[in-house]
């Protein structure tokens, strides 16, 4: 199917240490994410400005040639706290203050376990705070959020495109459900009518299973009953 191309969850990792960048990059790749790494908060903002197509009401926006929204969207920012110049906390604030970027979840990492720091970050809107060294198990905690963000933004894009097919009204109904149910886990989203979304979900959750079943010659398009947690009306 054609939609596989841009469906990888894209994470922007920010850390001034080359060593830590290498680590977080591998961790994210191992968690099936597409990764971009930068070594400072200002470079991160630059990347985000270019990629998210910040509107012209921001005088500091870096303009660029039209970028395909779908292909280079950032779905999560994970940043070190202690960095020279702009700290991870400063970056978090800037992201949350920007109308274009504020919906991107931000995760903070730190080698120091300071409760006051942790609560300050969470209060400022950080999704999670990880004490280094970050492990695969920590990133697994983010998977449900990855699902939700990816689905929501994909649906948004579908709404924005002038849709000629009769699925238009179904899509609109599903989108409002997603918007309302902010805490809903993927397992109970009633997406039976939309095989596109369920397939995306399946790709995110279990690429291994998909590969395995492809090798076994089983079509994964409608093989719902094999996967835990995805309800279906097949």
């Amino acid at each position: 199917m054609g939609m596989a191309a841009e469906s990888q969850f894209h994470v922007l990792a920010v850390d001034d240490s080359l060593f830590d960048r290498k680590l977080i990059e591998r961790l994210l790749q191992k968690s099936s994410c597409q990764v971009t790494t930068v070594d400072s908060g200002s470079k991160a903002l630059e990347f985000l400005g270019l990629r998210q197509g910040i509107e012209s009401n921001d005088p500091n926006a870096l303009s660029t040639a039209p970028v395909n929204h779908q292909e280079v969207e950032v779905n999560l920012i994970i940043t070190d706290y202690c960095m020279p110049g702009m700290t991870g906390f400063d970056l978090l604030k800037k992201v949350k203050e920007s109308s274009a970027l504020k919906n991107i979840p931000v995760v903070i990492m730190s080698s120091e376990n300071v409760p006051a720091r942790i609560s300050r970050c969470l209060e400022e809107g950080a999704l999670e705070f990880f004490v280094k060294p970050v492990r695969l198990a920590d990133l697994n905690k983010l998977k449900p959020h990855m699902m939700k963000t990816k689905l929501r933004s994909q649906k948004m894009e579908e709404i924005e495109k002038p849709s000629k097919d009769e699925n238009g009204s179904v899509v609109a109904a599903v989108v409002s459900e997603i918007k309302d149910s902010t805490k809903t886990e993927i397992e109970i989203l009633p997406l039976q009518q939309d095989p596109l979304l369920v397939q995306q979900g399946e790709q995110m959750l279990s690429t291994n299973n998909k590969r395995k079943s492809m090798e076994e010659g089983i079509s994964t398009d409608r093989a719902r009953p094999r996967f835990d947690g995805i309800t279906t009306a097949v």
Binding site: F19, K22, R26, P133, L136
Partner: protein, 157 residues
């Protein structure tokens, strides 16, 4: 050839376990191995190379900052390098190096010159010891592969 492979594998297993038992490595090293796969077969070696390069650089920074002949010791400078080394040793599973950094940080905070100098010497010895041991471990891996065998997954605990 089989007997050789089996012997090498046993050596590898025993050596790995001893490194954990003697406190050279902790479970973060195990986590690193999990990140290595067919797509990134040299990940652990690359990370360790970066780590040991970091050691050389940071220890040299600390030594320079602790050099009294150039004036008063800037303990915050020393502390900054110790903090970085503590971070990377922790991320790599270098248990003894990390533990030394913890004491070292305390001496920096209390501006204890003798304590700092002692820690500097110890950290230098410790990272070099670890480097040698890991080199031996990697050599065993190579020998196993060259003999046509598979490097065993070693289950610690």
């Amino acid at each position: 050839m089989d007997a050789l492979i089996t012997q090498l594998q046993r050596q590898f297993r025993d050596y790995t376990i001893s490194l954990y038992q003697q406190g050279f490595l902790d479970d973060q090293f195990t986590e690193l191995k999990k990140l290595q796969d067919d797509g990134s077969p040299d990940f652990v070696a690359e990370v360790l190379t970066l780590f040991f390069e970091d050691c050389v650089k940071l220890i040299s920074n600390m030594a320079r900052a602790l050099d009294q002949t150039t004036g008063n010791v800037d303990y915050s400078k020393v502390g900054a390098s110790v903090h970085q080394l503590k971070g990377s040793s922790s991320s790599v599973g270098a248990k003894r190096v990390k533990a030394l950094c913890v004491s070292f940080k305390d001496y920096c905070d209390t501006q204890n010159f003798e304590g700092c100098v002692r820690c500097l010497q110890q950290v230098d010895i410790e990272y070099k010891t670890l480097k040698t041991k890991l080199q031996d471990l990697f050599n065993l891996e190579k020998q196993i592969i060259q003999a046509g065998g598979r490097v065993p997954q070693v289950d610690i605990n």
